[in-house]
Structure formats: C-alpha cells, structure tokens
Subunit: 246 residues, 2 copies
C-alpha cells in the first residue's frame, strides 16, 4: 500500500465546495470518482483545506492510499486523463505512509482578489470580488499590520464552527494594488472557518472608513464575530499553497 | 418607434454562439428573451458580428427597434437587471432609424489570446488557447506583415461559406508577447467566416517553422482554404470593438 500525495489546481466555480455531499457536485467527489475509474474501487481522499463553494485552488494538496500498479509519478497523468478540465493535478509523488495533508501543514497561504473595474466583469465575476467603491488602500494596509502575530481570531471565525481553539499565527498579511486588482496575500499556520473572507470583509469596512485601522486590535480582543465585518464572497478566494517544510 | 444601439460584453463559454438556434442557448436568444421580459413582446436584434460558440465579446454592437416607454439611456440598466451575469450591456443610446450594426461598420477589431503556461490552465482554458509548443515569435510577427492590405482572403475563409466576395482590407495585424500570453490584434473592414481563427492557426504553423513567413503571400494567392493552417479553437477569440466612424 502506498500513500500518494498530489497537488491540485481547480476552478471552484461549478462545484459546491471541496467536501463530498449528497446530490451536489464536489471537488472531492469528482476526484474520488476519477480514482475509482482508474483502479476499479473507491478510496477516500484527504485534503489540506476544505474550500467552500466557489473558492478556487492554485495549490491544494490531497493524499490517498492505494495498492494500484500505476507508477507513483504517473498518477498526475492518469488522473488528468479522466478529471474534468477545471480540476488539474499539478504533481504527484509518494508520501510517507503517515503523511496527512491537513495536520502536517506548517502553514497555508490564501490569496483574495478584488476586481475594480466595470468593464470585464463578465470575465472576472467568478474569479474575483467585483467592487467599485472608493477605498482607502493605505488604511487597509495599516489594518493588515494589526492582523499579524499569534492571536485569538474568534472574531474572524464564522459562528457555528465546532472549533475550540481560536488561536492562529498569521505570519504574512499583505494588501497590494495593481490596477484593476487589489490582492490580499495571507499566510498562517492555520485558518478558522471563513477566516480569510471575514478578514477581507473587515478590511473593506476599513477601506470605506467605517472602521479605523487601529480598531482591528479591539475587534480581535472582543473575540466576538459580530464585531468584525461581513463575510466577503467566495469567488475572490484562492488556496494558494500549503507548506510542509520539505 | 426608436432604434436602440447597445454595446455588449459577454463570456461566450456557455453559449452555442451569438445566433439564435432551436434547442441551444444563444447570446441572441438570451437577449431577445430579456427584452421580451421587459416590454412584453419579442423584437429581433441585429449584431455587428455573429460570434461562434465559445467566442467572447468585449464590444459587440446590437440594434433593435422598440416603442417602449423605457428611456433610451435606461436600457443598459433595464437589460442588465434581467440578463445573466455573463452578458452585460456596457452602454445604450438611440441610433439613427436606419442604423445597421453590421452593414455600417467601418471596421472591426478582434483579439486572440494564446496562453503559454501549464499552471493556471484551469482558469484560462475557456478564455485563451493553451499552447506550450516552442514558437518562433519573430517569424510569426513577420508573417503578420504579409497579411496586411486589401487582398483576397479566400484561403482564410471556412469552406462552405456562402460569401462571394473574399476581398477584405486588413488594416492592423499585430502579434505581441507578454508572458504568459501571446496576443494577436487584428483590425479589418470585415472578416470572412472563421477568418481570424484560420489566420491564428496559420501563424502557429509559422511559429512551429512548418510554414515560412514569406509563404503567407503564396497562401493568399492560392485562394484555397487547404493551403492555410488549421482553424484555431474559439476560446481565445474576442470581438474587441466595432468602429462606425462616430
């Protein structure tokens, strides 16, 4: 039995998220069906991050066990020959038999894109959050600095989450503007449910001058979801990469 | 009765082309249904260019007649409130009562994008032709120069077309490279059926060194579709703009 590690890129537009669901198309379900077509039986896959409906991936990592005779380095091509065009395997290799894509991740990076132009919305709508408001970018950048460090991010976790420990270490949180896009890059040792989208929603409130950048500290200290901004839409979000320190 | 002129942007990925068809989703059918929802009866629309399945538009121009009480400048907002997100009206205004978007066009500009990277294919697949071959860009640029001028382009017209006059005036034909894209911009007083895609397919043969750039002149002179290269896929093609000299 071998454990295969694969890195994936996908356009999440047509999927109801990563996680397998009854009566809805999921990334996980699509990949498990493709593996089944290749080896004749179903095996469960585990992912580094369970992306929501409409969220994309540039470097999702999955693992699964198989005793198939398909050579380890050929899994990429074998799966790509069956997967739909909006899911691609970027690389595949054999992992340690105890490799776990989520538990062993040292940190993950997400990117969020905001599109700031009326024209082109038909093309960018599924791939960025289209927003034409006047935004104070410098204030948003100041707010990003407040979000760095090892802190309790309960205010930035969707209510109803079953998580008990809300402490996470945000190592990078950088907002940059390159017309017609605003790009947020955020690197942390882990993310709470909807954390990046709530951060973006809160940064937008700062950009609108509804929240002062200094107030971010107070929002964090409150440990109360109601103090943070709304959840930004999923289309702008990309799981960029997962780092295992190897 | 007023003639309304509207400029459209659309993502052609989900449509079987502009032209209305039985049992297939078309841009024309979708717009005519939207107008019908607004004014209660169906009116035919005319377009500057009947784009094929999978072809996109950044500046398609349509016209239709109506005696509706919707103010002329409000048609943009009215239609956008009903149209799906992948078709947007960029502007609307009243045109002369004899305005014809196709017959009165002085020239049209098309753009074709080629995407040259393995990564990101899941996102660019529907919006560019993904090609990773080694291509001689300079040779392709030389070939572009041969395509300029008023010439008989029968070799670059899909066979089976009912057109009798194959003379067209290509005023601009420019190929540029900005990694990871190659972009062809082509401006002419009119285009034959599949003309831009056959030009791209032929330029790719030049890029592969299968055809010498000088040979383009001979292909034109042959007036024979079989002398030109294959038809490049529709996904990379955009109707960029239509010029009426006003």
């Amino acid at each position: 039995m071998k454990r295969i590690k694969a890195v994936l890129e996908y356009d999440g537009s047509c999927y109801h998220g990563f996680q397998i669901q009854k009566n809805a198309l999921s990334i996980q379900g699509t990949i498990e069906s493709s593996i089944e077509k290749l080896i004749g039986h179903r095996v469960p896959i585990i992912a580094a991050g369970r992306t929501d409906a409409g969220v994309h991936a540039l470097g999702q990592v999955i693992a699964f066990d198989t005793d198939s005779s398909i050579p380890v380095d050929k899994w990429q091509f074998a799966l790509n020959s069956i997967l739909p065009a909006d899911i691609r395997v970027i690389s595949s290799c054999e992992a340690e038999s105890d490799f776990h894509p989520r538990f062993q991740a040292l940190d993950k990076k997400y990117i969020y894109y905001i599109y700031r132009q009326q024209r082109g919305k038909v093309f960018y709508g599924p791939y960025a959050y289209c927003n034409l408001e006047n935004l104070d970018i410098q204030a948003m950048q100041q707010a990003c600095k407040q979000l760095l460090g090892r802190q309790n991010y309960k205010s930035f976790c969707a209510s109803g989450s079953s998580v008990k420990n809300f402490e996470r270490h945000i190592k990078e949180c950088q907002l940059s503007q390159k017309d017609p896009f605003i790009k947020l890059e955020i690197l942390a040792d882990g993310f709470l449910y909807n954390m990046v989208r709530i951060i973006v929603g809160t940064l937008l409130e700062v950009g609108r001058s509804s929240i002062k950048p200094e107030y971010i500290k107070e929002i964090i200290q409150a440990q109360d979801r109601n103090q943070a901004g709304p959840t930004a839409p999923p289309q702008g979000l990309y799981l960029h990469s997962v780092n295992y320190g190897m």
